[in-house]
């Protein structure tokens, strides 16, 4: 039964995308990554003339600022694309009026969302690859590639981002607004998840907030896998943290989503 839903969702989404692939959406996301990288490049090379503060390499384990920032921006692109797609699917269904008929069908939400997520992952990998090429141009260098760590980082990231998307989807359905909600949450993540600078620079409150979002850990893991600078013990610890927080997000996200769906439909009537 669940496999069937999974397959049907993938097929439906694939058909929709084949017909109207949101190119402007994709270009927009790659551009965002480009601007982030370009901004970091301008800062590093021109504004501050490659003079890093004394604390940076101590906190990050690397003195290659550009690679540090680019890996962060690539992960950010990845999380934005995944979240945007999965969280917005239900919003789209709400707008197009298909949410009601979808809710009538007695299937498990997990399969529905997983279907969306799997398909999205494929396209996102493609987009990230393009963005990586841009990154190499701006100075992305792989210092210590560890394939096992990389594999763990990718799988955990997908797992955690799925949880984050569910939460974001709830907020969207609840506020019935995508533009302001998504941009506020994404700029929020950009701030607290250590995308372009180590979160140790943040004041305590914001740093704690960053710790609560699994994206932060995932970004650290990916950097460790590509740039090194993190011991095995610390890597395992961070991976465990990500796994736990990701699980919490999914465990709370699913029932919350059901609640939000009901609320959204009630509001639509009223």
């Amino acid at each position: 039964m669940e496999l069937k839903v999974l397959k049907a969702t993938i097929k439906k989404e694939f058909q929709v995308r084949l017909r109207v692939y949101p190119i402007s959406f994709m270009v927009g996301c790659i551009l965002t990554s480009f601007y982030t990288t370009f901004g970091a490049w301008l800062m590093y090379h021109y504004f501050f003339r490659r003079q890093l503060s004394d604390s940076f390499s101590g906190l990050t384990g690397t003195s290659d600022y550009m690679s540090y920032a680019i890996v962060g921006s690539l992960m950010y692109l990845f999380v934005v694309r995944t979240c945007l797609n999965v969280s917005r699917t239900l919003m789209t269904e709400l707008w197009e009026g298909t949410l009601e008929s979808l809710m009538l069908a007695p299937f498990r939400r997990v399969a529905y969302f997983l279907g969306n997520m799997l398909l999205q992952t494929i396209t996102t990998f493609g987009e990230t690859a393009i963005a990586t090429l841009i990154g190499v141009f701006f100075g992305l260098r792989i210092h210590e590639f560890n394939i096992i760590e990389f594999g763990i980082a990718v799988v955990l990231s997908l797992y955690c981002f799925f949880g984050v998307s569910l939460m974001l989807g709830c907020v969207m359905l609840y506020t019935r607004n995508t533009y302001i909600t998504q941009n506020t949450l994404f700029t929020g993540m950009f701030l607290v998840c250590g995308i372009t600078f180590p979160i140790e620079y943040l004041p305590t409150g914001l740093r704690l907030l960053g710790k609560l979002i699994p994206v932060t850990d995932c970004v650290s893991l990916m950097r460790a896998a590509l740039l090194g600078g993190m011991g095995q013990g610390q890597f395992t610890q961070t991976a465990l943290m990500a796994l736990i927080s990701g699980t919490i997000y999914i465990a709370f996200g699913m029932p919350l989503m059901k609640q939000a769906e009901r609320l959204a439909l009630e509001k639509m009537e009223g």
């Binding site: 402007s24 927009g28 601007y35 800062m43 004394d54």
Partner: protein, 269 residues
Amino acid sequence: MRYFLKVVWAEAVKQHKNYFNNRTIYISLFIWPLFSFLSAYYSYSAFDVEGTLVSYINGKNILVFLMLGYMAMSFFRSVVQSAWNFSRERQSGTLEYIYLSTANRLAVLMGNALSSVFESSIVMLIFGLLIVFSNCDSINVNTIGVSIVLLLFIIMALLWGVFLNACFLYSRDTDFLFTILEEPMEIFAGVKVPIAIFPAWAKIISLIFPLTYVLEALRQVLLNGASISSISNTIFACVAIIVVLLSATLITIVVVEKHMRKTGNVVLF
């Protein structure tokens, strides 16, 4: 003239009631630029600020430098969102009634921008002023310069809003405008990195954003104590942009009205 002002006011009031109908919108429009501002500020921590080439920036005033950038940008950026909102009047049919009336079209666009630009940025403005005042020992103000530049700033932000309103109202592909206007402005208008240190090709791109000029002028008079004569080039550029924006809007309005009477459709491009 009285009729013109009446329409401006009525449109501003309508937009206020129609769009800013609850308080949360002010907060959400504030949080977003605030986050961008904080991200930029903390990413500076990775660097040795004293190492910059720009003479008037130092570890003490960099917060104000950045705050001015994000505050000014919030005026120029928030309007993108509300202009998009305004463009929905085309779909909802109210635009047709506006066109059916004898109201001056520029007055309608202006009234709308008046409400959008200033209401969207009000919280950010207050926050920014608090930051600036609490750091007043690190700034170096030229009072006359500030008053002139502020006046220019308000006119430019308003006209930028009017111009975008016209673009969004008469254009089909608004997503495109979003992509063009949102993030590039943050980078290229010198909001977080001063354009003075840009490589030449990036400087050329920065020239197309009106925010570039007025932000530079604002920082000069607030942080560097620059006199009007020392930034006269920038001031002239601002005035020229005002003229260009106004005439571009007026031309668009006339062309759209002609186009609409011919085809029955306000979508121009």
